[in-house]
């Protein structure tokens, strides 16, 4: 009982109200520091293959000898098709598959996004495993053009050669599908959508032949021309759409086969050299996080991952001494491993951050950092809620020795407890008018308490809720515009949006000032709801796309700390600071820093929305921008106060 009473008394303690901002700041600092220690040996682990059946690199590879001669011929064949129209290219590829006695088909797709037409054809062939029962399949992809828009000459030739070579083996327990997609992102997406019957028949043709459930996919990207090119390393690309990742076992198998069995070094996230230092590990991790956070397709494999088909792309990089045969052997060995699978890949991790090709951090270790950042918003929100329930007028301090205080020393002695409690209020009272007190008598006991403590202040929720929700739903407008306008107009639209969003807070504040000045309580409630929503969104997002949640969380941290001060200079300074953190500004700056072209980013984003099913924009327009707008409006309203 006593414990309860003292807890209840503590609730009234003004010191409690002072803690949250420090707690929030502490959470953010720990969250960021948490991320920074992850690359250390103590917090990361070496990768390992946990699926027993995979047995990476345990088989002899025989892809060699005369296959090399055949490969060179196919490479010339593919080279001869570069300048051909799409239709003839497909026919020639079909003819090669026909000579290999494989079942083949073509699939046309024709997307129109932002008035840009993406039309091409996928050619694929199915090798029916002699002992397979058509229930499972694995996919080998050679996109006609790679992510850099170069013709994947040797890659496609390798797929053709491997198709011929795999056909002779009788050990396949699953069907093997050889897919030559028209491009690296939309083509595989059209194919995999149609495979699962999730396509829109207006844009994508249905598949004529199918096999069983897809168990894995490997893409090869080797753009060397007809005279070949010896490469140095394999760049293993693993990010899927919306930051989903393939099972770590598949990645590990690829790395272990390439580096362990065939001696080809593996790199990730464009870290061409990696000396295993703390700095490089951190850099790799951050690159991975940015790539994951953006959620865009990073290769032909990306489209497969949302369908729970684990996939990676092997890209050849650099000048070295490895030739096409070693890449072919890598793929052969990888397919032999996948062929061993008795179950869908499920053993290892689906959520991880890679620091290097053979070192990773698992979700249990890294998730707290994004969660702590999300929690900091929730803490600020709770503090604001409590604050909104308190009256605007200050609480009298009966124990104050300030000359202004009307409370007698006798009264102070009546309730000694209260005196010590409220001593802390001393500083707050400095500039305020004299608070009123009240005498309460209960039988023989008489107490003088500040009137503020006994008055009930009602929270008026309607307007703050309406305002926050309207702002969030208003995010649908830019979401629609950016996904449906023509590509030529997108940069202009972006510029307009950036300007509008910068001015809007001041505009709103101005309107409010003239029509309905915001009360202190309303301001607190608006900020409270906005931060509450932001905190919950980010916490939920952290479990789906950790990196995006973390990045948005870090950029929006100031929103938990800015407060309307009703002091013009201070509010203007805060507003200027927030203006820099306008999502559109951040995106523009980020694009510049990462060396991208903003117009291209906008078009890719629109493509992502229509073709790949990208959700990043929803987070930007419906979560980040509204949260920022609400914060800015609140601060701007202080300027006019």
């Amino acid at each position: 009982m006593a414990l309860l009473a003292s807890l209840l008394a503590l609730r009234r303690d003004a010191r409690i109200l002072k803690i949250p901002p420090y707690l929030s700041a502490f959470c953010i600092l720990v969250g960021i520091a948490w991320l920074l220690v992850l690359p250390l040996n103590e917090y990361s682990r070496k990768t390992y293959v946990s699926e027993n059946a995979l047995l990476p690199g345990q088989v002899h590879t025989y892809f060699d000898g005369s296959e090399h001669n055949v490969f060179r011929a196919y490479r010339h064949e593919v080279h001869g098709l570069i300048d051909q129209p799409v239709k003839e290219r497909s026919q020639r590829l079909e003819a090669i598959f026909r000579e290999q006695n494989l079942k083949f088909a073509t699939q046309k797709y024709n997307y129109t996004v932002s008035n840009r037409t993406i039309a091409n054809e996928n050619v694929y062939a199915i090798l029916q495993g002699p002992r397979a029962d058509a229930t499972e399949a694995i996919v080998l992809i050679g996109a006609w053009k790679n992510m850099a828009d170069e013709v994947n000459n040797s890659g496609v030739a390798l797929v053709l050669t491997l198709a011929r070579y795999f056909k002779r083996w009788s050990l396949w327990s699953k069907d093997i599908i050889f897919l030559v997609s028209g491009d690296s992102t939309s083509g595989p997406q059209a194919w995999v959508d149609a495979y699962h019957d999730g396509h829109d028949e207006r844009f994508v043709e249905s598949l004529k032949i199918k096999s069983g459930a897809l168990q894995g996919a490997v893409a090869v990207d080797y753009p060397a021309g007809p005279w070949g090119h010896r490469y140095d390393k394999l760049h293993v690309v693993y990010d899927g759409v919306n930051g989903q990742l393939p099972n770590l076992d598949l990645f590990n198998t690829a790395v272990q086969i390439a580096s362990g069995q065939l001696g080809i070094g593996c790199v990730i996230q464009r870290m061409w050299t990696h000396d295993d230092s703390y700095k490089e590990r951190l850099q790799t991790m951050l690159r991975g996080m940015i790539s994951q956070g953006l959620g865009h397709a990073t290769g032909p494999h990306s489209s497969f991952i949302p369908y729970h088909v684990d996939a990676v792309t092997l890209v050849t990089v650099g000048d070295g001494w490895h030739d096409e045969m070693s890449l072919g052997k890598t793929v052969e060995s990888l397919f032999r491993s996948l062929n061993n699978l008795l179950e869908h890949l499920h053993q290892s991790f689906f959520f991880y951050l890679l620091l290097q090709a053979n070192r990773f951090v698992s979700i249990g270790t890294y998730l707290p950092s994004a969660m702590l950042i999300a929690v900091s918003f929730s803490i600020a929100s709770i503090a604001l809620w409590v604050k909104s329930g308190r009256p605007d007028e200050p609480v009298a301090n009966p124990g104050s020795t300030q000359p202004g205080s009307k409370v007698t020393s006798k009264a102070a002695s009546v309730d000694d407890n209260k005196t010590t409690e409220e001593k802390e209020d001393f500083n707050e009272k400095k500039h305020t008018k004299t608070p009123s007190t009240k005498v309460i008598s209960d039988g023989k006991d008489i107490a003088i308490v500040p009137a503020a403590l006994t008055t009930i202040s009602e929270r008026h929720l309607f307007f703050p809720l309406l305002f926050v929700l309207t702002t969030h739903f208003a995010g649908l407008i830019p979401l629609f515009l950016f996904n449906h306008w023509d590509e030529d107009e997108l940069p202009g639209l972006y510029l307009t949006a950036a300007n509008v969003t910068s001015i809007v807070p001041m505009g709103f504040a101005f309107i409010f000032y003239h029509t309905r000045p915001l009360k202190q309580q309303e301001v607190a409630l608006i900020q409270c709801f906005s931060l509450l929503l932001l905190g919950m969104f980010l916490a939920a997002l952290a479990t789906l796309n950790f990196s995006l949640s973390f990045l948005v969380g870090v950029v929006t941290t100031p929103l938990a700390f800015v407060r309307r001060t009703n002091h013009m200079g201070l509010d203007l300074a805060q507003l200027a600071f927030l203006a820099v953190l306008n999502p559109l500004m951040v995106i523009q700056l980020g694009t510049k820093l990462l060396g991208g072209d903003l117009a291209e980013v906008l078009i890719k984003a629109a493509q992502g929305w229509h073709i790949w099913g990208l959700w990043t924009q929803v987070v930007v327009w419906l979560v980040w921008l509204p949260a920022w707008s609400v914060g800015s409006v609140v601060i701007a309203s202080g300027v006019f106060y």
């Binding site: 009788s170 019957d197 008795l342």
Partner: protein, 582 residues
């Protein structure tokens, strides 16, 4: 056109009426495109009904006969199948699909019983007995996997005087057919793989085939107009061998890349060089011999084989007349050419080995492969753990004749179809192709869904049949103990009612089986939790419980006698002990 006529004749020849001979075996070889070879083995033995009743077995295998008698099975069909028939390239199925089963094991039988319950009890007896006989998991065909088809099957035999017949049908799509099923299969034959065409049945080659199916069919036959009946048992093996793969010697089965000298290059290519070779498709029929493709020599004819009449020809090969076929044997044999020379048949010598040698040959003519009456493909659409949809595409290639089919689906109970989402659509007409529906919904953990549809597909049309289903969540003990890749759904059986086959076997087409991924827990997780909590409970709880409820007393402190004296003695003992220690 001419060749298709040959084919009809050939079919008539192959499917000729079962004569009275007691034992008959025949192997039909038919080279298929893309370097494949279809081998159809057929073994047939008769036993008169009277001697069968008296358990006087001559050619009919005794263990099998006794099982039939015990389970009161009057007609039985058992299938073991692996792989799939490639109808696009290989055309019509052997025996019109009547001697083939869906992937895995399929069994259906007409059981004599007074009530349904009795029939089911006898069915269980039958499956359990067959399970032991064939080393297959047939005993797993329980109520959830058993259906009673209404339209899809009709008896092949004559059951004139027998009433109360119950048809039961069960499938095991996940069963992996292998050598352990082949061995008991061969043991049922009179010559047991020692002589005759059964000496060619080698597990290594049979199960390396692109398609293979083993069938056992038992049915009563009665001669028309007479009362003498007999029981006929037919054992059939159909396999499609990839000649190149089968020819690989057993000691060197790895398909290493050939030396470049052995690969014929297309020299017309402008880039052709010493190190660059575009492989040329020679377009010739590959060379092969029986011993090469089957991995064993054919050890002459089976001496029990009937030696007179039409059926003396044991080995037949169906090739264009221009194909060179040489015989390599030391014994006496006779060759006869039938059906305009497209069918060459041999009477095998008893004793010495017999071999056919076909050299590599460039062909100018080929045999027409008739299309199957329908092409069928079935797949699962959608993704995710909760719902999905099934899509079957059935195409009628005939430009003139409509096809009437019965479509049979036997679904496991954990795949719950929504019948209101069933849509059958023909691309050439708006009329619903479904003429009749038989549907028996599933009961959780008791029985599966049974769906039969009678449909008509107009000429050169494609029928698309779709329905949505929900995936049930299983109890964790209901998952099989082995590695879980998902659950197999039995192939759909399509019976063609018209055009009629002409005999009472019927025409059948089966789709491939489906893989149904169900929400699967990571089983290591609950086990870890169970083990961990058990340990904590045992150590932690046990200790605390002990401390709470027990009073620890030294042995010597226990009072020997009760009463005041005992207590006093105890005190003294304790005092002594304390003093003694001090």
């Amino acid at each position: 056109m001419l060749s298709s006529l040959f084919f009809l004749l050939l079919n008539a020849f192959v499917a000729f009426v079962h004569a009275s001979s007691d034992y008959h075996e025949q192997l039909l070889l038919r080279p298929l495109p893309q370097g494949t070879l279809l081998a159809s083995f057929n073994f047939r033995s008769n036993e008169s009904a009277a001697s069968f009743e008296q358990q006087n077995f001559r050619y009919f295998p005794r263990p099998f006969g006794q099982i039939l008698q015990h389970a009161h099975a009057k007609e039985l069909h058992l299938r073991f199948s692996v792989g799939r028939w490639d109808a696009d390239n290989w055309g019509q199925r052997p025996w019109h699909g009547a001697r083939e089963g869906g992937t895995g094991v399929e069994l259906w039988a007409w059981v004599e019983a007074d009530t349904e319950d009795e029939a089911f009890a006898r069915w269980l007896t039958l499956t359990n007995a067959l399970s032991g006989l064939f080393c297959a998991s047939l005993n797993f065909i329980d109520a959830t996997k058993t259906i009673r088809p209404v339209m899809a099957f009709s008896p092949e035999g004559s059951h004139g005087n027998t009433s109360n017949l119950h048809l039961l049908h069960g499938t095991l799509p996940h069963e992996v057919v292998c050598t352990e099923n082949l061995t008991p299969f061969i043991k049922l034959l009179p010559c047991k793989g020692k002589a005759g065409i059964s000496s060619l049945l080698d597990g290594h080659k049979l199960f390396d085939a692109s398609f293979q199916t083993m069938a056992i069919d038992v049915r009563p036959t009665c001669e028309e107009g007479s009362s003498t009946c007999s029981l006929e048992m037919e054992q059939t093996v159909d396999m499609v061998l990839d000649i190149a793969r089968s020819k690989r010697p057993r000691d060197n089965p790895i398909p290493r890349p050939l030396p470049i000298e052995q690969i014929e290059c297309d020299t017309s290519k402008h880039y052709n060089a010493d190190d660059t070779c575009y492989p040329l498709n020679k377009g010739t029929e590959p060379s092969w011999t029986l011993e090469e493709v089957f991995g064993r020599p054919l050890k002459g004819g089976c001496p029990l084989h009937e030696e007179s009449g039409l059926e003396t020809n044991t080995l037949c090969i169906n090739t264009p007349p221009e194909r060179t076929v040489e015989v390599n044997t030391t014994g006496q044999f006779t060759e006869s050419k039938l059906v305009s020379d497209t069918l060459r048949c041999y009477q095998l010598p008893t004793g010495p080995d017999f071999d056919l040698v076909l050299p590599e040959q460039k062909m100018t003519t080929g045999l027409v492969r008739p299309d199957p009456p329908v092409f069928a493909a079935r797949s699962i659409n959608g993704h995710g753990q909760e719902r999905g949809s099934t899509q079957s595409i059935i195409r009628n290639p005939s430009t003139t004749e409509a096809v009437e089919i019965v479509y049979l689906e036997s679904l496991p109970w954990f795949m719950k179809p929504y019948l209101h989402t069933l849509r059958a659509h023909v691309d050439t007409s708006d009329e619903s192709p479904i003429k009749e529906t038989y549907y028996r919904p599933a009961v959780d953990r008791k029985r599966g869904t049974h769906l039969e549809l009678r449909m008509v597909i107009p000429p050169s049309s494609t029928l698309t049949l779709t329905y949505d289903f929900e995936k049930a969540i299983l109890r964790y003990t209901e998952y099989p103990p082995d590695a879980n890749r998902g659950f197999d759904v039995a192939p759909a059986v399509i019976r063609i009612l018209s055009p009629h086959s002409g005999d009472n076997k019927g025409i059948y087409v089966r789709t491939t089986s489906l893989l149904l991924p169900l929400p699967t827990p990571d089983f290591s997780m609950p086990y870890n939790v169970i083990i961990l909590t058990s340990t904590v409970m045992a150590l932690g709880f046990g200790n605390i419980f002990n401390l709470l409820v027990r009073r620890f007393v030294g042995v010597d402190e226990v009072p020997a006698t009760g009463g005041l004296k005992g207590i006093l003695m105890g005190k003294i003992h304790r005092l002594r002990a304390i003093l003694g220690r001090a």
